[in-house]
């Protein structure tokens, strides 16, 4: 495989990259769980039933309530836990000086005349 193998010393990774990757994995897992439950439950109880069997929970058809409304509530609670406990704060850094995103006196001149860049 034509790859630039890392040097003997393990490469130090950006801390934001590390925490972002960990959080992304948690999020993907959450999504898969939610998908498996909701589609599984609704696929089983939301299709091919007779109207006489249908019960209502707080006015919702039972399969909507247990298959969608309840997990939706769980997701809202989990998103709060995820955002306040599992996800870490990081320093995002600054725009490089001298670009349009962070123009300084010097940079303004460069925008007028990008040849100077």
């Amino acid at each position: 495989m034509p790859t630039d193998a890392p040097a003997a010393a393990p490469r130090r990774e950006d801390p934001v990259l590390k925490s972002a990757r960990r959080e992304a994995l948690i999020v993907f897992a959450t999504w898969i769980l939610a998908l498996a439950y909701t589609i599984g439950y609704c696929g089983r109880y939301g299709y091919g039933r007779k109207l006489e069997e249908l019960r209502y929970v707080y006015g919702f058809p039972d399969w909507i309530f247990w298959g969608i409304v309840v997990p939706w509530g769980v997701c809202v609670v989990f998103s709060w836990i995820f955002a306040s406990v599992l996800m870490t704060d990081e320093d995002l850094g600054e725009d490089p000086p001298g670009t349009e995103a962070n123009p300084t006196a010097l940079a303004d001149q460069q925008i007028q005349d990008p040849g100077a860049c």
Binding site: D4, Y56, D95, D108
Partner: protein
């Protein structure tokens, strides 16, 4: 004549106030962006978005969804709640996966737009250009759908609900000679066109009646067409026979002028601030609306209980009552998947395989949405990203579930709308449930401000993305790199105005089924960008050819599926939404799933087969950087093609 109907003054007043407020916000935003450079200020709001602005504006809350989703619930019933269910995880996936790294990388390379990000991260102008072309393509589709929604709200405010919806003397369809000629040129066989001649010049008020008579004539053909074929023809004939709708056209003009106006004035920040303002309005609108709709249903319930002397009805939960009445008015299918089939043509709106697909669609549409990505790039800090997650979680739960309940009530409260005209259900219902209130017109205006606001917000945001794509990523980058700030400013304004004009022209004949277009551009952008964004952000080994392969294979698979389904007519037209704008569902799954697989395989495979990116470049984005010494671009510009 339709236009002579009495305008609903209260509603109009509320909408006009709302438009003026949005304009005023545009002016404020304009002042705020005057600090710093025009480009970063106008297109990125100087990276200062707080939690609320980020949460309520960065994900796919388009007017299409606000108008189209209730229309679907009204048409197909409870199954549509399963259709939208993926939104339960969208707040976490939308910000939790890409958010942090995206914000960081865009700062490290000073990216203002999404193509900037592609170009700088890989030091490849060609990759940046490819990204901008795709963005322009999908965004243009999305815009078209939004303008229709905006125009509809204005129109209904203008003509009022009663005078308009229930007036059976209003002609909506007429088969003319010119229409027949156009049909013949539009790949409808001559014998079909000839079969329609007995109906020529008759005027129809409702689509149902029109479709029935057309179907009747078609069934006389020998050999009689199949159900699927007849459905396709009836649809085409209806489109060519629709009469011009003046209130709609006026609504379209008012809407376009106001939204292009305030976006021109304030740029990105105006788009975001008005979006925030409108999202908050939308929330209040939905809550008030839900209360009023349930109240109207409960009045009906009491009346029925008193008339039938039926205590069971009186004690029933109001929502359950609404649900039961809706089922009686339609069929038991209204309560279950795959959804009620209002045209009785054998349509399966949401087979389980599509329900599964939509759980992917909403999540990846959020990940790959260019408008959403730009907003994350503009956020202030990780604290804002974190807060946005639960703010949006709460917000979504209180928007999408109540909207479904409102639409279920709508099925009971509003006389059956013709299939194909159900995009109007929210505006009509708003007029209906407020008609008894003392200042009902004004209240309905406030409610209508919600979908109207959602549409305006989406449009203004896309205007900014499209204009930045054309001006910055194409013009400044490839045509005139030396353009002055003043020139770019003028060009940005010109582009936005031109987009407004194009949108009006393309919408004079409105597209049917808003949601189909929203889904196309959403899934298309997702198919194209979701995997490349993940590679860009997380994968050190990703290469330029790998990214190009991933973009092209994702987009190619999606467009291919629409070509097979929409143009060549593969697959049954009786799956999914009733529209000729549909993809081919291989194995019953949405093409997005196949596109993601193709995009992922191509991206990873080609990256592994090609030479890795320059180490200096990679180090800039993947290794820790001293905070006080940001790396400049020098020396990392070469990349093996």
């Amino acid at each position: 004549m339709l236009i002579a109907a009495q305008p609903a003054w209260g509603t109009l007043t509320a909408l006009v106030l709302f438009i003026l407020a949005s304009m005023w916000i545009g002016v404020l935003a304009n002042r705020a962006t005057r600090e710093g450079s025009f480009m970063k200020g106008f297109f990125l709001g100087n990276r200062g978005l707080g939690s609320w602005a980020l949460a309520l504006t960065a994900t796919v809350q388009s007017g299409g969804t606000f108008m189209g989703y209730p229309s679907l619930v009204y048409t197909h019933g409870w199954a549509v709640v399963l259709w939208i269910a993926g939104y339960m995880v969208v707040p976490i996936t939308g910000f939790g996966i890409l958010g942090k790294r995206l914000a960081q990388i865009s700062r490290r390379c000073g990216a203002i737009t999404m193509p900037d990000l592609f170009r700088e991260r890989f030091a490849s102008p060609a990759l940046g250009l490819l990204a901008s072309l795709f963005i322009l393509f999908y965004m243009s589709f999305m815009m078209v759908a939004q303008f229709k929604a905006g125009a509809l709200v204005m129109k209904i405010a203008w003509v009022g609900s009663d005078s308009w919806s229930e007036d059976q003397n209003v002609g909506r369809y007429r088969i003319t000679e010119a229409g027949l000629t156009r049909l013949a040129g539009n790949s409808v066989p001559t014998n079909v066109v000839d079969a329609l001649s007995p109906l020529q010049d008759k005027v129809y008020a409702s689509e149902t009646q029109f479709a029935e008579e057309v179907r009747g004539e078609l069934s006389k053909l020998k050999p009689a067409p199949s159900k699927e074929q007849a459905a396709v023809w009836v649809h085409r004939i209806a489109v060519t026979s629709e009469l011009p709708d003046w209130p709609y056209i006026i609504g379209l003009l008012i809407f376009t002028v106001s939204v292009v106006g305030y976006t021109l004035i304030g740029g990105f920040l105006a788009a975001v601030w008005t979006d925030l303002f409108q999202s908050v309005m939308m929330w209040f609108g939905v809550v008030i609306f839900l209360v009023l709709a349930l109240h109207s249903v409960s009045l009906l319930q009491q009346k029925e209980a008193a008339a039938g002397n039926n205590p069971a009805v009186a004690q029933m939960n109001t929502l359950e009552f609404a649900s039961r009445r809706a089922i009686e008015k339609t069929s038991p299918d209204f309560a279950f998947g795959p959804g009620y089939d209002g045209r009785h043509e054998g349509r399966a709106f949401l087979p389980a395989s599509l329900a599964f697909s939509f759980f992917w669609i909403w999540v990846f549409a959020g990940l790959g949405s260019p408008a959403g990505i730009v907003r994350i790039m503009a956020c202030r800090s990780t604290v804002n990203i974190r807060r946005s997650i639960y703010l949006l979680g709460l917000y979504n739960a209180f928007i999408y579930i109540p909207l479904a309940l409102i639409s279920i009530c709508g099925r009971v409260l509003i006389a059956d709308l013709p299939v194909g005209k159900t995009d109007d259900v929210i505006p009509m219902l708003a007029m209906k449930v407020t008609s008894e209130l003392p200042v009902g017109g004004f209240v309905s205006g406030l409610i209508l401000a919600a979908p109207f606001g959602a549409v305006m917000a989406t449009v203004s945001c896309y205007l900014v993305v499209i204009a930045s794509g054309l001006v910055r990523d194409v013009y400044q980058r490839f045509i005139r790199p030396l353009a002055s700030s003043r020139e770019l400013e003028r060009l940005s304004y010109g582009v936005m105005t031109a987009i407004g004009v194009i949108a009006v022209v393309t919408n004079l004949h409105p597209v049917d089924y808003l949601q189909a277009i929203v889904v196309f551009s959403g899934t298309g952008a997702a198919a194209t960008f979701a995997v490349p964004m993940l590679m860009l952000v997380f994968w050190r080994r990703a290469t330029v050819p790998g990214m190009v392969a991933s973009l092209l294979c994702g987009a190619g698979t999606m467009l291919g599926a629409y070509y097979l389904g929409g143009v060549l007519g593969w697959g049954s037209p009786l799956v999914g939404e009733a529209t000729s704008f549909r993809p081919y569902f291989l194995l019953g799954l949405d093409p997005l799933l196949w596109s993601l697989a193709a995009s992922g395989l191509a991206g990873v495979g080609v990256s592994l087969l090609t030479r890795t990116c320059d180490e200096v470049l990679l180090s800039k984005y993947f290794d820790p950087q001293p905070a006080d010494a940001p790396v400049r671009d020098e020396g990392v510009a070469e990349i093996p093609a």
